[in-house]
């Protein structure tokens, strides 16, 4: 833990973060409660914390199990653990129909198996909650880490909690909530509502657990952290780890001619919005208001144009990590629906662009890029729905970037929001942990309007 130079000086972001991590580790190792909860806003070093906590817990000589929510999260985690400590034997428990990815198995210390018994004696075993649920006939592990705990449902925790004695729960309360395909009103307001997030249940039953908080986002630039914190984390604010001059996005001149198939007007607007975003961290590319179907061809083309121009001009991201080119791997496109993602992929392919991640908010959770291009979930819609207004969806889309985020949309969303009925049902006894999606959408748009570039 760092010492403060003087009690009067405000702690630096680094000092704040160090102090938080030290307190978390102390609680996980020796705290009086069996559970430790850590709320981590986007890019606050959750993965680093998990790896570090894992190593410290293993260092006590006890065996550790790690629960993550998806197979790619598990592979990712295994990879990080092995990178951090090549000598650490890591078990990768997996289902017979979900083989582990090469990024996990390439490490010499990683042992993969479909049977827990094979991995039982290893210092660390990692698997999805869905896989852990089926592990039987075994003594409990002393320690567990539950990663992305806010995405885990309470009933999944109920099925795995018998496997460990103590646990560290880490997650981002601002991501998309777990959901159910059936109605769950029967249990609304109960402490153990099986459909709510595992953390909510845990805290309701263990009032002694006071959640820790990672207070600094190392991903989000100074241009984004205050907006994201205000709009999505008003009850648990955080700050950026860098100052406004620390991150620079340099773009090449807008001289390379646009490829055939990209309208010159659109290319010009794309160049302009990229300049705005490079300068300010945000850009809003606005098409004329129109009601469209979900896969609005013009909006899709505009998204593709922004990506294509960014790659054609060549960008350079300068940050505390050094300087690196912004190539396809460092760019992501985010959409609300899968068919939109498919349409964007097709449009990019038509412009000869490959290697850019294009996915829905659900799948972009936990990911990080230099530049993101977002098709606004409400663009062109005649009406909003609970799905489109879900706070977590916009939060995920607007908080994946280290440098800049360009949002592509049809005009008219504020008016659409104004006409949206405010008839959300309220369950007694359910505490709202997260702000309202309608309000957050307005707040973000109000901010983006300052960085607006119209098309046509």
């Amino acid at each position: 833990m760092s010492t403060h130079p003087s009690p009067a000086a405000a702690p630096t972001p680094g000092e704040q973060a160090d102090a938080a991590v030290a307190a978390i580790l102390a609680s996980a190792l020796h705290g009086g409660e069996r559970g430790t909860v850590v709320d981590s806003p986007p890019g606050a070093g959750k993965s680093t914390l998990v790896v570090r906590a894992a190593r410290e817990l293993v260092a006590t000589g006890e065996r550790l199990m790690i629960v993550a929510q998806t197979n790619s999260q598990v592979d990712d985690l295994v990879d990080r653990l092995a990178q951090a400590d090549a000598g650490l034997a890591v078990g990768r428990l997996h289902g017979s129909d979900a083989l582990p990815s090469e990024i996990a198995t390439r490490h010499a210390g990683v042992v993969a198996s479909t049977k827990a018994a094979d991995l039982r004696e290893l210092p660390v075993v990692v698997a999805t909650a869905a896989k852990w649920q089926w592990v039987r006939d075994t003594d409990p592990w002393h320690h567990a880490i539950v990663d992305e705990a806010y995405q885990m449902r309470s009933d999944a925790l109920l099925a795995v909690a018998r496997l460990f004695e103590r646990a560290l729960f880490v997650g981002d309360p601002g991501q998309l909530d777990p959901f159910s395909i059936v109605g769950t009103d029967d249990w609304a307001g109960l402490h153990h509502d099986p459909s709510q997030s595992a953390v909510v249940t845990l805290l309701a039953h263990n009032p002694g657990i006071v959640p820790h908080r990672l207070p600094v986002s190392w991903r989000l630039p100074a241009s984004a952290a205050p907006l994201i914190s205000d709009a999505f984390y008003p009850f648990t604010p955080f700050r950026a780890g860098t100052e406004s001059g620390d991150r620079l996005l340099g773009l090449g001149p807008a001289t390379p001619p646009p490829p055939a198939g990209l309208a010159p007007g659109l290319a010009r607007a794309a160049d302009e919005v990229l300049d705005v975003a490079a300068e300010s961290g945000w850009g809003l590319l606005e098409l004329p208001a129109r009601l469209t179907v979900r896969t609005d061809p013009e909006a899709v083309a505009a998204v593709a144009a922004v990506v294509a121009r960014l790659l054609a001009r060549g960008g350079e991201a300068r940050s505390e990590r050094g300087t690196a080119p912004v190539d396809a791997e460092r760019i992501a496109v985010g959409t609300a629906h899968r068919d939109q993602a498919a349409a964007v992929r097709a449009a990019l392919a038509a412009l000869g662009v490959t290697g850019v991640t294009v996915d829905t908010a659900n799948r972009l959770q936990g990911r990080e890029y230099d530049v993101t291009v977002v098709l606004h979930p409400l663009s062109g819609r005649p009406d909003a729905t609970a799905f489109h207004l879900e706070t977590g969806r916009l939060c995920v889309l607007a908080s994946r970037h280290r440098h800049a985020c360009v949002v592509v949309t049809r005009a008219g969303i504020p008016e659409l929001l104004d006409a949206h009925p405010a008839t959300e049902p309220v369950q007694l006894g359910v505490v709202s942990k997260f702000p309202d999606g309608w309000e957050a959408n307005h707040a973000v748009l109000e901010h983006l309007r300052r960085h607006r570039v119209p098309v046509g």
């Binding site: 009103d185 609304a188 307001g189 205000d230 008003p234 009850f235 604010p237 129109r290 009601l291 469209t292 179907v293 979900r294 062109g380 819609r381 005649p382 009406d383 729905t385 504020p414 008016e415 104004d418 006409a419 949206h420 009925p421 405010a422 008839t423 959300e424 049902p425 309220v426 369950q427 007694l428 006894g429 505490v431 709202s432 702000p435 309202d436 309608w438 309000e439 307005h442 707040a443």
Partner: protein, 390 residues
């Protein structure tokens, strides 16, 4: 109960108020009651409803005069039952309500503090009642800060600016606690059964309470301005930063708690039970809604200066409607607007969500025409036909 038959006497009418009064005609002005607030929530984008509510028009009788009466009657049995419940709570200077609030809101230590129930002159006109409410609030705040008493305001009357015109609001009760915090109390007749209640009704109650919190904050700010030395409440601390919609305001307005109290019959009985309502989301939403509302003056431009709805109800058709089937559960004019929307072939008549499916196809005719070869709905039409042919 909900309409006030007295004109405002405290000051002359503004031109806007005069215009709205003329539009209403001889009919009495209605206050922004629970039903009007619910209609606002269900369809905030409807110009027609906005003007009618601002003018205090009785939409139910307007609908009847238009020949499409609403189906919002209340059974005499339900009314009686609600009245019995409320009367019991309020009997004896609100003895039962006070006892309930004491156990819900008061820390042990102050359980013995006496309670004031000032007379708010409920039978007087709205202007008098609003003035009485202001005075009572300021006295209550002083009493609380001196640790003398806590106060229950029974049926106070508040005013709030909505889209540039002032509306009357009548919360069921407001409590000013010994800690100086103000709490909005909503009394409802739906039951809390085994700890839970109909989420739709709770949601409506929460939005209603949020409006009252905002009106209370406005009143508190006015009191602050009138007496800058006014007592500061203890314990009001804002979440988030200034400018965040979740931040609690400075000054006396910060005394208003963002948690309301819902009072309902318990289980199958007539015994009252209270439940806290977290209003933070509803407050953030309502605040922005109110700020963003189109000003009534702008909407009035669609109507001739001389329009009088009591004489010529069909003048209402000059105001744009925004019908969706959700109106049926919320607005007295819904059958009238539905007839118009159906006549125009609007796809909204089939459901709010339908528009999202159909994008730019906004009429039934256009959508059906789009099932032809190469058109937007051709694929869907083919699949449907093929499946039905089997």
């Amino acid at each position: 109960m909900n309409h006030s038959t007295h004109p405002r006497v405290d000051q002359p009418l503004t031109p806007l108020e005069a215009r709205l009064a003329a539009l209403r005609g001889d009919a009495a002005a209605r206050s922004m009651d629970a039903r009007a607030l619910a209609a606002l929530a269900a369809n905030p984008g409807c110009d027609r409803r906005a003007v009618l509510d601002a003018a205090g028009v009785d939409k139910a009788s307007l609908a009847a005069r238009l020949g499409s009466p609403a189906a919002f009657g209340q059974s005499p049995f339900a009314i009686t039952r609600g009245l019995v419940f409320e009367r019991r709570l309020r009997a004896d200077r609100c003895a039962e309500l006070v006892a309930l609030l004491r156990s819900e809101l008061l820390p042990e230590a102050s359980a013995q503090t006496p309670v004031e129930v000032p007379d708010l002159l409920p039978s007087e006109g709205p202007a008098v009642r609003a003035a009485r409410t202001r005075v009572a609030l300021s006295e209550a705040a002083a009493a609380a800060s001196a640790g003398r008493a806590w106060t229950l305001l029974d049926r106070p009357l508040l005013r709030l600016d909505v889209a540039g015109s002032s509306v009357s609001l009548e919360p069921d009760a407001i409590v000013v606690g010994p800690d100086g915090r103000w709490t909005v109390v909503e009394i409802k007749s739906f039951p809390i059964l085994d700890g839970s209640a109909d989420p739709t009704k709770v949601g409506a109650a929460a939005r209603q309470a949020a409006v009252y919190v905002l009106a209370l904050r406005a009143t508190a700010s006015a009191l602050d301005a009138a007496a800058p030395s006014a007592v500061r409440p203890a314990g009001a601390s804002g979440a988030g930063k200034p400018g965040s919609p979740y931040v609690e305001p400075e000054g006396l307005a910060g005394a208003v708690r963002t948690t309301g109290l819902l009072v309902c019959p318990r289980d199958f009985s007539n015994v009252a039970v209270a439940a806290p309502l977290d209003l933070r989301k509803q407050l953030a939403v309502t605040r922005r809604q109110l700020v963003r509302m189109t000003r009534i003056e702008t909407l009035l431009a669609a109507l001739p200066e001389t329009a009088r709805l009591d004489e010529a109800p069909e003048a209402v058709d000059a105001l744009a409607h925004a019908y969706t089937p959700d109106c049926l559960a919320a607005c007295e004019l819904s059958f009238h607007c539905r007839t118009q929307a159906r006549a125009a072939g609007a796809v909204e008549t089939l459901g709010r969500g339908v528009r999202g499916e159909l994008g730019s196809l906004t009429t039934v005719e256009a959508a059906l025409a789009a099932t032809g070869e190469g058109e937007a709905l051709a694929r869907a039409a083919r699949l449907r036909e093929e499946a039905l042919a089997r």
